[in-house]
Amino acid sequence: MLDHGNPSLHHSITPRRHYSAVFLARVEGNLTATRKHPSFAGWRLIICQPISKDGVPEGVPQVAIDPHGAAMHQRVIISSDGLAARKAVGDNKSPARWMIIGIVDEKEGA
């Protein structure tokens, strides 16, 4: 059952959902980590802030792997589909979850 309810709950630690979500987000930073799960080696790790349709931040920032090369403060679409992320990193035992699946160039409508 898909219950999208209050968007701020999507980032709290409960309730846990077993389907994946896709959010509009803004790139707000990146990070370096020498010691990490081997499947993240070579991947850009980007800090993405989920935003509303008006660009207002919603919930806590998430770190996503970035196969596309998103730039600072660009709007992107992030997905929490772990299966797709594992396929992207090429390791079926990777804990990868959030991935930038597209870069927004324009958005229309309310």
Binding site: R16, L31, A33, Q62, S80, N92, P95
Partner: protein, 101 residues
């Protein structure tokens, strides 16, 4: 993956067999208002509830880690394992520049 600072450790005297020998960290997640810049951790705790994270990278108190929550947290294990948050990266440096319209 979310980011947070390690504020403590947990040891267990009795566990399910799949988790024998595991290291656990207590992590206070960063929020937009309470976020690390560079390699200096923010002081104090964030408003987000702290959580216990499985650790196989060797994180310690005072470090910043990236942890993965949800079903993907148990993906690295061979057997089905009751882990819902796992340490994915020991963070060295963060470049964080929140957007101000």
């Amino acid at each position: 993956m979310r980011l947070g600072s390690v504020i403590g450790r947990v040891t267990l005297s009795k566990t399910v067999p799949a988790l024998i020998g595991a290291r656990w960290l207590i992590v206070s997640p960063f929020t937009r208002e309470h976020f690390q810049r560079g390699s200096d951790e923010p002081s104090g705790l964030s408003k987000e509830p702290s959580l216990v994270v499985y650790d196989d990278l060797g994180g310690g108190v005072g470090q910043t880690i990236g942890f993965i929550e949800g079903r993907e947290a148990s993906a690295p294990f061979d057997e089905p394992t009751p882990v819902d948050a796992i340490n994915g990266a020991l963070v060295d440096e963060i470049f964080y520049n929140p957007f101000k319209p």
